[in-house]
């Protein structure tokens, strides 16, 4: 059996990631100017929860840092510190460091105090909190009245176990309890036991020198007390008789004491007042018609609820008056709303006389109810994905058998199969959805990249994100992290100008990097754009010529020049700094994107900025492919690589040598590769005229035509990896099983073409392709 503590520890770190995410979210909201207390509370609670869990596992570094951070956030929460932009940036840094500490703790690593200490120092300087000393708290545990120490014997069970089956719950899933809403404010906080006392002094009470205040104080000694003053009969000042008093009160006392004890408080005023004492459960609502807000003489009472003006509660309106029994679980989806609704009276003229002072019962703004989730081992999902893949294959086989059996298309079997096909697709999509995650976590990591890289190059950069709830396959998200990091760094380092340069061209001091994600026609499109200077095409071209990547006389369109950045060897690390454009390792970025079945494109406008856009398939488990035949072999070519299909005519195909052909397409020449020969299925053909070719496009503009014998079908295929069994096979991406049970290889056209062009380049220089 596995160690339960190890499991809890592992789940703690997973939970920490979620908390770090909501921490980032909260800070982002604060940065955007959100001052909602609940937002601050979310930030506070995230840090607090991480600290709490870390404490349980003895992760001292983490606890130490989280504690300081928490203390600072508590200052913000309490309103003692108003964070400005600088403070929020520091909080972001704290969140980053906190994340580092969490991950270090997870990996049994450590974060140097050289990283944490300066941050803490800044934090304390900025927020200026003193380490509060733990005060000694006197608390005597209250022994449970249930007599559980007895041996109940046998299976008699627990005789004292209360029957809870009729617990009145106003839909616990609807809304949380909100103690600060208006109705409850006048209601007892503890209704365990107690009494409602209606107290109306006769003039004789005052004349005989009694003071109601002292009675109230005596009552307070019995337990928690809430007081409502009824002042409706108070005349105007010019007609007031000070000897009469005019006021009456409803006092709710929560006490374990008997009615007799409560009555004894009023012993000395017996006969000098109207006194009604009712046990709390049966207590009627406030008997007065109206009341006023001013009760000057009352002493401070224990803080029970947040003192906030409370709307009048007119007795004749039963709809808006809750009985004590159902009051505590008032459904309050919009905490602000009830206050307005509960005040049909034109004059808000009442207040509960609870005393001043902050209380831990906070105003819950719009509490974020966590969605119900379940954690599933990724392996189980992958198994399901695999099985659904089998189902898809099985369905394809079945379809094929039905077709071969020659059944009419409207036969029950055929129509049933249609539905089966639809269901299979739906199941497949649903399963893929399980693997999908919002891209948000990745975007949040980019926030840090922007903060850190802008700080290191002395630029002011703001990251905007859009579409962060776009769902992307988990593996795609993981494998996008590196390329995206690279692109964001490039945008900050090279895309954006320095603040001075920006000001000189009438731009804002602060540069903007925008990261967006969206679904577009069955693919995910992620864009990284900046509002920088754009690509300096002259310098890029000059650099490419200098590097020997293009001939000096090459005529290149703007797009062609931009695409030079993706060429391997375009620039190396040493040259970054004196190149005002981009190009740092963009070939690496490109190949990682392509490995995911994606494409990358670049658009740039001088002076306005540059946008990189990545387009990715929704999933890595299936792909849309074109099924082709070559030399009696069936192959699948990913549809996204095919620009167009061509029928080869005599005019189009030119032989450059015995084994080298090119195809003329709209005035340009593209190398023609015989797929059968490239894969070693057959020797190169004498002539390809009359054959079919697939025009393969690559993002760098490098194109090639693949000659095939026939195109059979276009369909979704399930990707079955080969690397586990065969290692990496050049030109081959994976395999799949077709409807007839045949195994077909899925091509990696990009790889295939670059392999081939490696051989053919000496004879056909690359500039011919783009020129």
């Amino acid at each position: 059996m596995s160690d339960p503590m190890a499991e809890i520890r592992a789940s703690f770190f997973i939970e920490c990631e979620e908390l770090l995410e909501s921490l980032q979210d909260g800070l982002q909201l604060m940065d955007d100017g959100d001052t909602d207390p609940e937002t601050i509370n979310i930030v506070f609670r995230a840090v607090h929860s991480i600290k709490g869990g870390a404490g349980a596992f003895g992760l001292d570094d983490l606890v130490h840092f989280a504690h300081r951070f928490e203390t600072a956030m508590d200052e913000v929460r309490a309103g003692r510190f108003q964070p400005d932009g600088e403070a929020i940036r520091l909080f972001f840094t704290c969140a980053d460091v906190l994340g580092d500490l969490v991950r270090a703790a997870r990996d049994d690593d450590a974060v140097s105090s050289e990283v944490t200490d300066p941050v803490l120092e800044k934090l304390e300087k900025l927020v200026g909190v003193e380490e509060e000393s733990e005060e000694e708290l006197d608390f005597t545990p209250a022994t449970l009245s249930l007599d559980l120490s007895l041996d109940f014997g046998g299976d008699a069970g627990l005789p004292n176990l209360p029957d809870l089956s009729d617990l009145p719950m106003a839909g616990a899933d609807e809304s949380p309890l909100d103690l600060s809403s208006s109705e409850e404010a006048t209601e007892p906080l503890v209704a365990s036991k107690g009494f409602t006392v209606f107290f109306k002094p006769e003039p004789a009470l005052y004349i005989s020198g009694n003071e109601p205040l002292y009675l109230f104080r005596a009552l307070r000694d019995l337990g928690d007390l809430a007081v409502t003053c009824h002042a409706a009969s108070l005349p105007l000042l010019d007609s007031i008789d000070p000897d009469i008093g005019h006021l009456s009160w409803t006092l709710t006392v929560h006490t374990e004491e008997s009615e007799q004890t409560v009555r004894e408080v009023f012993e000395f005023v017996d006969g000098l007042c109207q006194l009604d004492i009712t046990p709390l459960a049966a207590a009627p609502v406030a008997p007065s018609p109206a009341s006023v807000a001013v009760v000057p003489a009352l002493p401070p009472l224990p803080p029970l609820v947040q003192p906030e003006p409370v709307a009048a509660r007119p007795a004749p309106d039963p709809a808006s008056t809750a009985t004590p029994n159902d009051a505590p679980v008032t459904a309050a989806p919009k905490p602000e709303a009830p206050q307005e609704e509960a005040s049909p009276a034109p004059v808000k003229s009442s207040a509960t006389t609870t005393s001043e002072g902050t209380t831990p019962t906070k105003t819950t703004g719009t509490p974020t109810q966590p969605r119900a989730t379940v954690r599933v081992d990724l392996e189980r999902i992958d198994r399901l994905v695999n099985l659904v893949g089998e189902l898809v294959i099985n369905q394809a086989m079945l379809s094929q058998s039905v077709t071969e059996a020659g059944l009419p298309p409207n036969s029950p079997v055929s129509t049933g199969l249609e539905e089966f096909l639809q269901l299979t697709r739906d199941i497949q999509e649903s399963v893929m959805m399980i693997r999908a995650q919002p891209i948000k976590s990745l975007f949040q990591r980019m926030g840090r990249i922007v903060r850190e890289s802008s700080a290191s190059v002395g630029k002011e950069v703001r990251l905007h994100t859009d579409g962060e709830n776009t769902e992307v396959d988990k593996t795609v998200i993981e494998r996008l992290a590196d390329p995206l990091t690279h692109m964001i760094r490039n945008a900050v380092d090279h895309g954006l100008e320095s603040p001075e340069k920006r000001l000189a061209v009438d731009k804002s001091r602060e540069g903007h990097v925008t990261l967006t994600a969206q679904h577009r026609s069955g693919r995910i499109v992620i864009e990284v754009s900046d509002d920088g200077a754009g690509i300096n095409r002259e310098r890029v071209k000059a650099k490419a010529i200098e590097k020997g990547l293009i001939p000096a006389e090459a005529q290149l369109s703007d797009g062609d020049i931009d695409n030079l950045l993706f060429l391997p060897g375009f620039s190396t690390a040493q040259e970054i700094s004196n190149l005002s454009g981009r190009g740092v390792g963009m070939d690496v970025v490109k190949s990682s994107i392509q490995a995911l079945g994606g494409r990358i494109a670049i658009t740039s406008q001088e002076g306005k900025g540059t946008t990189f856009s990545i387009s990715l398939p929704l999933t890595l488990a299936v792909l849309d492919g074109m099924v082709v035949r070559v030399a009696d072999e069936t192959l699948v070519v990913p549809l996204n690589a095919i620009l167009e299909t061509l029928t080869l005519t005599d005019d189009d195909v030119k032989a450059l040598g015995p084994e080298t052909h090119v195809v003329q397409i709209r005035g340009g020449f593209v190398p023609l590769l015989d797929l059968g020969a490239e894969l070693g299925y057959r020797p190169p053909q004498e002539s390809y005229v009359g054959g079919i070719a697939l025009l393969i496009g690559q993002e760098d503009g490098n194109r090639a035509a693949l000659a095939v014998d026939a195109i059979e079908d276009q369909r979704q295929v399930v990707i079955k990896g080969l690397e586990g069994s065969y290692g990496r096979v050049p030109g081959i991406a994976a395999a799949t099983i077709l409807g007839d049970g045949q195994i077909a290889l899925i091509l990696d056209p990009t790889d295939l073409v670059s392999q081939a062009s490696g051989r053919t380049r000496p004879r056909k220089p690359q500039h011919a392709l783009v020129g």
């Binding site: 939970e15 869990g53 545990p141 022994t143």
Partner: protein, 128 residues
């Protein structure tokens, strides 16, 4: 039959890590009748069908905090007598005083070890 075999406990915490830690500790004391809930409202809902003797609840939870849960328990007849142990990261006087007034049976400050938890429970229900 020992008390620990009889005692029914509900653990309420929004962090599953904390629920796991407490449940694990309870298990080591021999307390096996343990239910758990991720927030106050669902705790109340579960209590309607699964009565317990003792609720061990975190203070700082979104939506409904531990003291609000306590208040809800104390104001509903059937749950009024349930023991309540508050777990809090910050043992502020305000929180403790409020808890005292609402009828909290005991509190425990984080971080705690299983022995601390045991002592806090035993102070309420007696020797386990």
């Amino acid at each position: 039959m020992a008390l620990r075999d009889q005692l029914r406990v509900m653990v309420v915490d929004d962090m599953s890590t904390s629920r796991g830690l407490i449940t694990n500790a309870l298990d080591s004391f021999g307390i096996r009748n343990v239910a758990s809930a991720g927030d106050g409202p669902s705790a109340l809902q579960k209590l309607a069908t699964t009565p317990v003797h003792l609720v061990i609840s975190d203070y700082n939870m979104p939506g409904m905090d531990g003291l609000q849960l306590l208040h809800a328990l104390r104001t509903n007849g059937p749950t009024r007598g349930i023991g309540f142990l508050l777990i809090t990261g910050r043992a502020d006087r305000e929180i403790i005083d409020m808890g005292k007034r609402l009828g909290m049976n005991n509190f425990l400050k984080k971080p705690f070890d299983p022995n601390g938890l045991r002592a806090a429970i035993e102070a309420i229900v007696g020797k386990l």
